[in-house]
């Protein structure tokens, strides 16, 4: 994601605060749709499609990461299928509401996750931190976000090393035996703690005093504000009016 964020497209040059606000507005409006809404949500697919195209962000790594949260979305969706026993009328047909609810959930939250990943891949964690500080999010919280992001890779490395060491001495047995779970988790926690202490010491050595300095101030330009206005206007229109139905009716009227 950090490599993608160093891209050089028009989207990458948009002020990080605008990218952040557009993503927040997008997520808020998409999640505000009713539980059976599918067709009215479809215009919102345009946003990620356009951002993918303009920012030249490869689709594969974004979808791969989106897949990580897919089981969670599917899990919530399945609850909707089980517990939502209502009936939905679609045209002249009658359908079981649970499945509509499921499809709507997957569509909406899938789009939100992809938009968040696109935001990260076009501005990176440092510019996100900068945007958060601009809207007066306390520096302690911003710092927590930054350090958590840094430590994810540290924890990942420690887990990989510990699991590799276990596997080398487990003589081809699959998985990790339940008796080893306790010591392994303990080891990983201790080693991660030690590693994070070393990183913190390295930060202190270089004058870290609890304040994060992201570098030069990024100046807001007219194009940044235009970007925000354009997308917010589109999202609000798409939220208020059922654009696919209106478009369908208009085409049907002409024909």
């Amino acid at each position: 994601m950090d490599d993608l964020a160093r891209g050089d497209s028009a989207v990458h040059h948009i002020h990080p605060l605008m990218l952040f606000l557009v993503t927040i507005a997008y997520s808020g409006l998409v999640s505000s749709f009713g539980r059976y809404a599918i067709v009215p949500v479809l215009p919102f697919v345009l946003y990620p499609v356009i951002i993918f195209a303009v920012s030249k962000t490869p689709v594969k790594p974004i979808f791969k990461r989106a897949l990580i949260v897919l089981p969670l979305i599917l899990g919530i969706g399945l609850f909707a299928v089980i517990f939502d026993r209502s009936i939905v009328y679609f045209g002249s047909s009658v359908y079981y509401g649970g499945w509509f609810n499921f499809a709507s959930l997957v569509l909406k939250y899938g789009l939100i996750v992809i938009s968040a990943l696109l935001m990260m891949s076009t501005m990176g964690i440092d510019r996100l931190a900068y945007a958060l500080r601009l809207i007066r999010i306390p520096k302690l919280i911003v710092l927590q976000i930054l350090l958590t992001y840094r430590y994810i890779s540290v924890i990942g490395e420690e887990i990989a090393r510990t699991v590799r060491a276990y596997k080398l001495r487990s003589f081809g047995k699959k998985g990790i035996h339940k008796t080893a779970w306790g010591p392994l988790i303990g080891q990983i926690i201790l080693r991660t703690y030690e590693r994070s202490q070393n990183i913190y010491a390295a930060m202190l050595m270089r004058g870290f005093d609890g304040n994060y300095h992201p570098g030069a101030n990024i100046r807001m330009k007219f194009k940044d504000i235009a970007y925000l206005i354009f997308w917010i206007a589109f999202f609000v229109l798409a939220r208020i009016f059922d654009l696919p139905t209106l478009l369908g009716n208009a085409i049907a009227g002409v024909l």
Partner: protein, 251 residues
């Protein structure tokens, strides 16, 4: 040049478990000196460096950098004058790009972004990795990581460079490049290592630690050729001083 003197007086430190890592260490390092601190595992080298940087607080004794005694109040200003290169460069590279990592220290010191850019460019150039500025640190090779971690310290323009096992995990050519680089620096250098050949190549003075005490302190050529002393301290002669096994066999 008394402001660049590093002085350690009767330093003592025990870890919370009770293990005494540093028993009583004193030395004085002058401006521009290149000093190797050697010793077997557990001799107290790494603890000494942590005390020198103010990461650990000694139970007794003091560290004086220039004319400033290290206290909680003076630690921030002292850390601006000492740059420490960690044994594991992964601990030192925590930003998303090499540039941001090298800029981390200067930005914390509050200087303008133009000067930060100049310092970063100069530091990257000094270690020969100006082409890696935009790369993510975790994508670099070990040699490149080591160079980047040195650049993160050089950009702070320290008076004193402290390095903990700087050649560990470097391949022979990267190690050779590193030795050449270190020899070019004019800073005061304090290097701890088990790589005695590197220490011999880069340091004119050696301090040998044993069980938390200074076992010897003198010229590198004298100490590193003293087989008896090195043996008593759990060390061996540097390979370059052990003679050629093939020639010895021929004789």
């Amino acid at each position: 040049m008394s402001h660049h003197i590093t002085e350690v007086k009767n330093l003592k430190y025990s870890y919370p478990g009770g293990k005494e890592a540093v028993s009583d260490i004193s030395f004085r390092i002058l401006h521009g000196e290149s000093v190797g601190i050697i010793g077997a595992n557990g001799a107290g080298k790494s603890t000494l460096l942590l005390l020198l940087m103010g990461i650990l607080t000694p139970q007794s004794g003091e560290v004086v950098i220039g004319e400033v005694k290290m206290t909680k109040k003076t630690i921030p200003s002292i850390r601006q004058r000492i740059g420490m290169v960690f044994q594991d460069p992964n601990n030192q590279l925590f930003m998303t790009s090499v540039y941001d990592d090298v800029a981390f220290g200067p930005r914390n010191s509050g200087i303008g972004e133009d000067e930060v850019a100049q310092r970063v460019a100069h530091a990257l150039e000094q270690v020969g990795i100006e082409h890696l500025g935009d790369r993510a640190p975790y994508h670099l090779s070990e040699g490149e990581k080591r160079a980047a971690s040195i650049a993160t310290v050089l950009s702070m323009q320290p008076d004193i460079l402290v390095m903990d096992e700087p050649t560990s995990s470097l391949d022979p050519q990267s190690r050779r490049r590193f030795i050449k680089l270190i020899k070019e620096f004019k800073h005061t250098r304090i290097i701890t290592s088990h790589d005695l050949d590197m220490v011999y190549d880069t340091c004119e003075r050696i301090i040998v630690l044993k069980d938390g005490l200074v076992a010897a302190d003198g010229a590198a050529k004298d100490i590193l050729s003293d087989e008896k002393l090195l043996g008593e301290c759990g060390l061996e002669l540097p390979l370059s001083m052990q003679g050629c096994p093939k020639c010895d066999a021929d004789i």
